[in-house]
Amino acid sequence: MTVTEVIFYFIAAAAILGGLGVVVSRNVVHAALSLVFTLLAVAALFILLASEFLALVQVLVYAGGVAVLLLFALVLTRARDMNQTLDNNQKPLAAIAGLALMGVLIAMTVLTTWPRAADEPTLVDFNALGDALFRSWVVPFEVASLVLLVALVGAIVLAGPEEGEE
């Protein structure tokens, strides 16, 4: 077993444990912190896949922005103060569904022979990535900026005061 493999299994276990914490934790804040843990582990997986740019974006946008927004949502809806069960009563069915899906996905992954272009992920050139993003993918890029703008305006309209409120 090489060093890279040990690191990979360590990170994979961290990501899965974090994910487990998100779905089984009894405390909403612990769930949110587990999510941050998983997001950082996924960023580490991106580095193992030789995509550092994506790892950077993941840490900045997800672990930085999205996680803070989720914590804000938890605090503002006082999810922690309300003494209540966090899960509904369909746990066994949901567990069966989740395990069945996992079994199908893993069986399919193992049974398929995937085409191979590279034995080892090669590093992506930042310049070439920017070139691809701003030349052949410029239209989706602009549409994405429009999506962000609309989401921003929509969030302000939804969360802001209604007419008549101060």
Partner: protein, 102 residues
């Protein structure tokens, strides 16, 4: 070196955990977190396939960037909706919000 299948298995486990979370959680914010798990699993798949099977590496990474963009927009909007819901109904539990109109 790590085989492609190992990345795919990690992503499959994360996705299934997300499905379980969406089905089992009552709080809207926790459901949103489970959705984030599923989106991350999809990103891992995209990047892993791009790294191992495609000679043109950018496409998977660009897809993952768009997934992250859409996830950020989605979380912002969902926060607005959940806050509005909490202000109107004093709850963020999706099973208590069963009316389309009141």
């Amino acid at each position: 070196m790590i085989p492609l299948e190992h990345f795919l298995v990690v992503s499959a486990v994360l996705f299934s955990l997300g499905v379980y979370g969406v089905l089992v959680r009552r709080n809207a914010v926790l459901i949103l977190m489970s959705v984030e798990l599923m989106l991350n699993a999809a990103s891992i798949n995209m990047v892993a396939f791009a790294a191992y099977t495609s000679p043109e590496r950018f496409i998977g990474i660009i897809f993952a960037i768009f997934i992250i963009i859409v996830a950020a927009a989605e979380v912002g909007l969902a926060l607005g909706i959940i806050l509005r819901l909490f202000r109107n109904r004093r709850t963020a539990n999706v099973d208590e919000v069963d009316q389309l109109k009141w």
